[in-house]
Amino acid sequence: MSTGIETRRPKEAEMRPQLPIVDDDPATQRFRVHRSAMTSPHIHRAEIERIFTKSWLYVGHESEIPEPGDFVRRPVGGRPVFMVRGAKTGNVNVFHNTCTHRGALVCRQDSGNSKVFQCFYHAWTFDSEGQLKGVPDRDAYAGGVNFDELGLKRVARVESYRGFVFASFDPDIVDLPTYLAGAKDYIDLVVDGCGGSVEMVRGTNQYSFSANWKLLVENSFDGYHAESTHDTYFKYLVSIGTDLRGGVSGREVDLGNGHAVIEYSSPWGRPVAKWEPLFGEEARTEIERLRADLVARHGEKRAHAMTEVNRNLLIYPNLIINDIMAVTVRTLYPSAPDAVDVTAWALAPTDEPAPLRHRRLDSFLTFLGPGGFATPDDLEALESCQQGFASGGVEWNDISRGMGRVPMANDEEQMRVFWRRWQHQMGAAADLAGAQ
């Protein structure tokens, strides 16, 4: 139905040259991202094809499935998959969660242990290595049933680094160590700081909110917002006797392939190994001992990085490892341009002594998680941005902070690293004319 109002917008869009969504202009020290990157269904679909099927994506941690037959299922890149430790090989297998017969899910529990995975629909049965083992009434297939061909379909590529299992739907992707590039060193710092072996703590935070996933990427290592957004958290720290002097200061590091980290000192304590009043006086000697152990093993410089320095690490495109007042691992997946599913875990040293584990989890909950003193306010901020985009009038987000200087932890260079890689992967799919 015509409104009777002549609009010239479509014509303008046709006339407009194809500009990149990411406007990176070193000459003027200005970096901008067009807001359609956060709102366009076209961009969202292109991201699924060009980013989430062409990257290494975190599936889970090997510690979640220590025994043969142990499994966890979860969506990866929007697809249901499951990870199971093979009973014959002891290998970590990641399968598409679909029966090779007519499609039903073969793994229908979130976690557990099983020798076989039976599709309940027609009772086709597979073992933990994916091999098809049973087909009822197989004589009915005149051409026979090829048991080797009809095993569970593996995700194209599966590799792990220090227990972190990644999968890719792209058979031609570079190997995981090459992909991780400089991020490997930071995973090493986290794991070695935990004594060399880590595990996921039982209990998962699974929450969603109404904003574009890339806003949470930015937020996960945004030093600039901490003081303003999380004022109530810092007030809480003061109330328990934490010394805020010294504040938050540090630097940003480009780790290659879209990965980046901010590393910085902070007022809050760290279970490994920086004491604060929250931990109680009785914890002082234990935390000092942890630190001394790391110095003995890794030298003063590396031990300092492990114990006193915080890390907010992005492994492109959507894995966050934040080693702060506790260690959290989180994935972010878009279910729509304005909706993100977050799954978050607590990572801890394997066999951590009980009092240390308790303090770690206590420290986690001060800031992190859907019931923490900070995360809900981040959700509010990101939903607020998404709502602001709908207002129109302003086309670009500015991410120029700290250009032209050695980037600091509260600058935005780490976000620019992400966005440059994003633009590169999206290619022609991320240009202004295409986004209209």
């Binding site: 979130d110 039982r202 969603s208 584990r357 019931g371």
Partner: protein
């Protein structure tokens, strides 16, 4: 302690829980905090580990009295952005069961907590587990635990309100 020797009726407990719900729904959080003993706990376990123990499992909330007081102070301020302005909530309590002695009372109840804010509605469903103590002027909360029946928080986003 004459009070402690008097048997506790379910109706008395229900009246207490309804009064607590009213304090929460009217955002009278300072008065609500007064219901808790100094050694009290407020816990919400993760959706996938309802039997979670804060000593070794990741919870959503594990507050001792000091942190609960900090939570109240935070929610009372204008800087708890997720809850400023506050949600409109409706804490509903059902299926109340009472066990134990008058000094140490175990209560389980079903709950539905509706939360409305900025045109959005969300609903928390689950089971409360309380430990209450009888005093001369009513009951005090020694422990409150809210176990969520939802398999995850996808539809509610967070637990920024008090359940």
């Amino acid at each position: 302690m004459t009070a402690a020797t008097v048997a506790v009726s379910r109706q008395q407990i229900e009246d207490f829980l309804y009064a607590e719900a009213e304090l929460l729904d009217s955002w009278a959080l300072d008065a609500w905090l007064q219901l808790f003993d100094e050694d009290a706990k407020y816990e919400v376990p993760s959706n996938d580990a309802l039997d979670g123990d804060p000593a070794h499992d990741l919870m959503l909330i594990d507050d001792n009295h000091a942190r609960l007081a900090a939570r109240v102070e935070r929610l009372n301020s204008r800087r708890a952005h997720r809850e400023y302005p506050h949600s409109r909530t409706n804490h509903q309590v059902f299926n109340v069961r009472v066990e134990g002695s008058a000094e140490d009372i175990s209560v389980t109840a079903s709950f539905t907590v509706w939360r409305f804010r900025a045109g959005r509605s969300s609903c928390y469903v689950g089971r409360y587990r309380y430990r209450l103590r009888r005093t001369d002027d009513g009951f005090r909360i020694a422990a409150k635990r809210a176990e969520l029946d939802m398999t995850d928080l996808r539809n509610v986003g967070d637990v920024a309100i008090i359940l």
